[in-house]
């Protein structure tokens, strides 16, 4: 259904950027078709904002011999944000179910340190990577049990998860530990090269992992019974409607946190690959970046509304905002104000679009 949306931005497309044009038109036609469908309006707002930023960027930063909108731009964007994409995908499940997961930033730091420490201890790389992901799964399961069996509000349960993960990370070490393992380094530096010298761009391992997670998530959330249960949970009646439909909401409420924790574990490994180190202070505020991306992508924090591909668009927009800030060469504090202002502008835009629905 929304498959056109993703190919419209074509970050994984193997053709050079001059093939973008007809695809944009395709996506445009599909988007116009969607306009009549009210469910897509918030996500459409995201795409419109994305388009505006791209056009502004194209006008301001293009030079005679290099276009701003290019495969290179998207390649850089996803090399820098693949970990955020994975975190945000996990968060999408939680938010659509009507919950929230504040622990993911802490999990990223914990997983990074676990990976760094275990590699220093000489464990084989595949084992370390699996253990890293399972650390995330474990924290997610703990939060899930608190939410499902003890009826603790997700905000508090995941807040406890955040302090737990960060506390454990602090115990493992308070200095940045560089990862010098050869296998890990070769995973981090592995990439496919495309294009010629000025317009050279890459696909690296993190991007591939992120897009595989994206595809699995689209399948799980939009094409399976469990996915429908997640939406049913977010309807706001504690899953009663879903139960009446013959779905089983009970365990699903727990599973969304396990999924989010696992995604955070994968995200932690991607972040470790990106920084080639483990550090207990990494990922501070990353949960908010992830939540912001999901919400910018059109999901409602009250639950029940949202799309995995909307989140994809949200992360793209978030990354693009950062790129534009950097290109403007502003003082670091202006970056934050600008991100806040754009978030505000975006929330207002979305508000207008949602208001029109009624």
């Amino acid at each position: 259904m929304t498959a056109q949306t993703v190919s419209g931005h074509a970050p994984t497309d193997h053709t050079p950027h001059d093939a973008d044009d007809p695809r944009w038109k395709q996506a445009g036609r599909a988007a116009w078709g969607r306009l009549s469908d009210r469910r897509y309006l918030p996500t459409f707002g995201t795409l419109a904002t994305l388009a505006i930023l791209l056009v502004v960027g194209q006008l301001r930063y293009s030079t005679d011999d290099r276009s701003f909108i290019s495969a290179r731009l998207f390649s850089n964007l996803f090399i820098d944000n693949s970990y955020l994409l994975v975190l945000a995908i996990g968060m999408t499940f939680v938010i659509i179910s009507g919950g929230i997961d504040l622990s993911v930033g802490g999990v990223v730091a914990l997983v990074g340190l676990v990976v760094a420490k275990l590699l220093l201890a000489g464990l084989p790389l595949p084992v370390v990577l699996v253990v890293g992901v399972l650390v995330g799964t474990a924290i997610g399961s703990l939060i899930g049990v608190m939410v499902q069996y003890f009826r603790i509000q997700p905000f508090i349960a995941s807040l406890a998860g955040l302090f737990l993960a960060r506390g454990l990370a602090n115990m493992l070490g308070t200095t940045s530990i560089g990862i010098k393992d050869e296998g890990f380094a070769s995973l981090a530096s592995w990439k496919l090269k495309f294009g010629e010298r000025p317009d050279i761009w890459y696909i690296n391992l993190s991007m591939i992992v992120a897009f595989v997670v994206l595809l699995i998530a689209v399948y799980l959330l939009h094409y399976t019974r469990s996915g429908r249960t997640v939406y049913g949970l977010g309807a706001g009646d504690g899953g009663q409607a879903a139960a009446l439909m013959g779905l089983r909401p009970g365990a699903t409420k727990m599973w969304v946190y396990v999924i989010s924790g696992t995604c955070a574990g994968i995200g932690g490994i991607l972040f470790a690959l990106y920084t080639k180190s483990g550090y207990n202070l990494s990922g501070v505020g990353m949960e908010l970046d992830a939540i912001a991306s999901v919400v910018i992508g059109g999901a409602l924090l009250t639950g029940g509304v949202g799309y995995v591909l909307g989140t994809f668009a949200g992360v793209t927009l978030y990354g693009l905002i950062l790129i534009v800030c950097t290109r403007e060469g502003l003082d670091p504090w202006w970056n934050r104000i600008l991100i806040g202002a754009i978030l505000l502008g975006f929330v207002l835009l979305q508000r207008v679009l949602v208001a029109k629905r009624r």
């Binding site: 508090i156 302090f163 602090n170 009970g250 939540i291 912001a292 924090l301 806040g340 978030l343």
Partner: protein
């Protein structure tokens, strides 16, 4: 004490009171600290000033308390305010920048003006949150996240990206002085608590807050000015966060916009929830909020007393929060009440699930 404290006549009523587990946790922590460090529970009077570990803990808890009081009211209306940490940074940056530029920090008038301006700015930020939430109907989580993201940037813009340090004895006394032998922050905390408690428990405001938190639409139809009330709590919460920033930063007189108030929003929410207020809105406990703030501060201190590495602070907090939440959860209470077999059952509560879904 406010109206939330009932007269307990039975053991079960005590155990089921929402303050039971938090108070047990606090007393247990204090006793544990007293055992490890014998002088912990002593309170001495030196030069007419109160001194002792407990006094220190109370003084340090005021920052949490001020934040948590505002947060408690916001949560009562069914909202949340993620901006309080950033507001602390803004407020302190504004006050210290004003004192620094005035050139005469030792004057009491300058210090008072700085406080007034800082609180004014904090109130404006609160009003901005109120505008987004009550005026435009944006979800509180997202609306206040905007200041959470941008706020530290604004504070840095005030200080020009530097850590502003300045001197002002009158301003410094807000954080480290004494009034009648009692630390000034404790006096500020007590006065603010008294005002808020009177406001919400002796007028209809508390009930109106709860009615908005339970059902905004219904209370609006019943004639409650739910929008005005929402505006009011966010302005109040912002102002209290501003005051918390001043109390917190005054002893050092350094506005480090990047770090002051970091994660404070989450700590404040934690204090409120530990105190027995549910995040769903509609019901709140001010007395519980004090207990919550004291528990968090005691935990910070306990780490030092137990000779644990200071890095274990967060882990410690997590364990206590999880323990308090699970101890206070309906599920565990049910199993205690119905089966009279404490605790052990909590680990295997799964079988009861099916009946609930069928219902």
């Amino acid at each position: 004490m406010t109206g939330t404290v009932q007269t307990p006549s039975f053991v079960s009523r005590v155990v089921h009171h929402h303050l039971f587990w938090p108070v047990v946790a606090l007393v247990a922590l204090w006793i544990a600290c007293g055992v490890v460090s014998p002088g912990f529970l002593d309170v001495k009077v030196v030069d007419g000033h109160l001194f002792g570990q407990l006094v220190d803990i109370t003084r340090n808890s005021v920052t949490f308390l001020l934040l948590a009081l505002g947060m408690c009211l916001v949560i009562a209306t069914g909202g949340i305010d993620l901006s309080v940490g950033a507001v602390m940074a803004i407020s302190l940056a504004v006050a210290l920048t004003y004192i620094d530029n005035s050139g005469n920090g030792e004057s009491a008038t300058v210090a008072l003006t700085a406080v007034a301006i800082a609180l004014g700015v904090a109130a404006v930020v609160g009003a901005f949150n109120g505008f987004l939430i009550a005026g435009l109907g944006i979800q509180p989580f997202i609306a206040t996240m905007i200041i959470l993201v941008a706020g530290r940037g604004i504070a840095l813009a005030f200080t020009g990206g530097q850590i502003t340090t300045t001197h002002s004895a009158p301003f410094k006394s807000i954080g480290s002085g004494f009034v009648l032998g009692i630390p000034t922050p404790v006096v500020i905390g007590a006065v603010v608590f008294a005002i808020v408690a009177l406001l919400v428990r002796k007028t209809a405001l508390g009930m109106l807050l709860e009615s908005v938190g339970i059902n905004r639409t219904a209370s609006h139809m019943a004639g409650v000015r739910s929008r005005n009330i929402t505006w009011l709590v966010y302005i109040l919460c912002g102002t209290l966060a501003g005051l918390a920033g001043l109390v917190y930063g005054a002893p050092t007189m350094a506005a480090d916009a990047n770090n002051i108030g970091q994660l404070m929003e989450l700590n404040a929410i934690m204090a409120v929830v530990i105190g027995g207020t549910k995040l769903d809105g509609g019901k709140f406990s001010l007395a519980g909020t004090i207990v919550g703030a004291l528990i968090l501060t005691t935990l910070d201190r306990a780490v030092i007393i137990f000779h644990l590495p200071s890095e274990s602070k967060d882990l410690f907090k997590a364990i206590v929060v999880i323990a308090i939440c699970i101890a206070g959860s309906e599920r565990l209470r049910d199993s205690i009440g119905l089966r009279r077999r404490p605790r052990l059952d909590s680990s295997t509560p799964a079988p009861k699930k099916t009946a609930e879904v069928a219902a």
